[in-house]
């Protein structure tokens, strides 16, 4: 069986954590998992390397799914993270289409759905997130969540069929889907609990601007309303039911109401998984067990608090720390969070933290011209920098947040 190798050497339990492993299994073969593998090799690690993935696609990038892949501007291959030759140069066993179903922490053993048993000196957990669904949505055609390549391609097909789209959720994902679908000429309604698009993430000023932008582009907005559930007939969705009893008719529905760390397979492992896999400041969950990416919650030593980030940059930056620590270094993970979102012609860059109630000052550019940099302040400190079509200037202010978190 490919990738399954004997476990030689002393029993795993007696292996001290400061020994460089000669065998690493990475569960989750996407942004974070792949980045750990590459960083290990780059650092000269020559031992065994196995990447286990639930999906059968080669590792691909997720941010384009709601943007270029959904709109069709990119063929799916364009979102692949690496070419075939780059993957083979890694000299790793890729076991794809075979999800992990159990982890034995003490023995560092991973059991897969097909019955493979993988043992290693070190295991890296990189399984990302699972979207939250409405009860009963799985039985209804036309209802989508968006996390995987297959999700994106399936949604695109439904959008090309025409008909009305209702997007539930006014967060980043819902807003991006609404924007991309409008760009495809689809009739879009965006419904959400919050009073403005992305206001929970970025505050009222930017939330208000984004809300106006969606309205100008012809998205029907139903904000500040609760969704009760979905209606359907004949196995296909017919609309979204609001708590008020009103029905928003739809041929296609996207449910973007949040995601949960994909820790289902870790139940019973003994790891703490209340909000992601709980790690120390070194991204270590247990001796020889590390977590990376959207899944990992860790203690940020400079901020002195627990964080779990769901963004693309975090996956690679954290992967570099995990690889270093696997190889015997002792490095805390101290990132300054960063994410971006593209909606219509607005390119937003967000560095740092955007706590609710923060004071927001525009320091460059002009709100009227849809081109500005804003600093977010809380308790007299700069916590975040946001650029709206001013990416470079925003980046140049980033140092002020770094100063504030003591970087």
């Amino acid at each position: 069986m490919p990738g399954l190798r004997d476990h030689r050497g002393p029993p795993a339990l007696t292996v001290p954590d400061d020994v460089v492993p000669d065998d690493v299994v990475i569960v989750g073969a996407s942004a974070g998992g792949l980045a750990v593998a590459e960083a290990l090799r780059r650092k000269g690690y020559q031992g065994g390397l196995t990447l286990l993935g639930a999906e059968s696609h080669p590792p691909y990038d997720r941010p384009p799914l709601s943007k270029q892949v959904l709109s069709g501007v990119w063929a799916r291959e364009r979102a692949y993270l690496r070419q075939a030759d780059e993957l083979s140069a890694l000299e790793a066993d890729f076991l794809l289409g075979d999800p992990a179903v159990r982890l034995d922490v003490a023995a560092r053993e991973v059991l897969t759905a097909s019955g493979r048993l993988l043992r290693a000196r070190a295991v890296v957990l990189a399984t990302g997130l699972t979207p939250v669904r409405f009860q009963g949505q799985d039985g209804l055609a036309g209802v989508h969540t968006l996390r995987t390549m297959d999700d994106a391609l399936g949604l695109r097909e439904d959008l090309l069929d025409g008909g009305r789209l209702v997007v539930v959720g006014e967060g980043v994902l819902g807003a991006e889907v609404a924007a991309t679908a409008r760009g495809m000429g689809v009739d879009v309604t965006l419904v959400g609990l919050g009073d403005a698009v992305l206001a929970d993430q970025l505050g009222d000023l930017v939330g208000g601007m984004l809300t106006r932008l969606h309205a100008e582009r012809g998205v029907r907005l139903r904000l500040g309303v609760a969704v009760e559930g979905l209606s359907g007939s004949g196995g296909r969705v017919s609309g979204v039911r609001l708590a008020s009893g009103e029905l928003l008719p739809a041929e296609t529905v996207v449910v973007a109401i949040g995601s949960r760390p994909a820790t289902g397979w870790l139940h019973g492992s003994g790891l703490s998984v209340r909000d992601g896999v709980r790690c120390d400041s070194r991204c270590r969950a247990a001796p020889g067990v590390y977590a990376v990416g959207d899944l990992a919650s860790w203690h940020h030593e400079k901020l002195d608090r627990r964080l779990r980030l769901e963004n693309r940059t975090n996956a690679v930056e954290q992967a570099r720390i995990v690889a270093a620590n696997l190889l015997g270094e002792d490095r805390p993970y101290l990132p300054l969070p960063y994410f971006w979102t593209d909606q219509y012609d607005a390119k937003i860059q967000a560095h740092g933290f955007f706590p609710s109630g923060a004071r927001v000052d525009v320091v460059e550019g002009d709100l009227e011209q849809n081109r500005f940099v804003a600093l977010y302040h809380r308790d007299g400190k700069v916590t975040g920098v946001l650029g709206w079509n001013m990416a470079k200037a925003a980046r140049l202010h980033r140092g002020r947040v770094a100063d504030a978190i003591g970087d």
């Binding site: 364009r78 971006w340 860059q349 079509n389 990416a391 470079k392």
Partner: protein, 66 residues
């Protein structure tokens, strides 16, 4: 060392310009990467390598051969 960037993939994160400002710059508004020097001196090697690593869009490729 030879560098190539894929402006179409770039998301304007600016990690590259942060790490190796002698080699990478960004467009003012969209933040899209601008390659200042496709074959920089060896002393930039580590910084360029790191930029390619952390680029969230995998938009930078580095050929380390001189």
């Amino acid at each position: 060392m030879n560098i190539a960037v894929d402006q179409d993939k770039c998301c304007g994160a600016g990690q590259c310009a942060l790490l190796a400002p002698e080699v990478f710059d960004q467009g003012e508004d969209d933040g899209i990467v601008i390659l200042l020097n496709p074959s920089p001196a060896e002393r930039f090697r580590a910084a360029v390598r790191e930029a390619a690593d952390v680029c969230p869009a995998s938009a930078i490729t580095v050929d380390l051969r001189p």
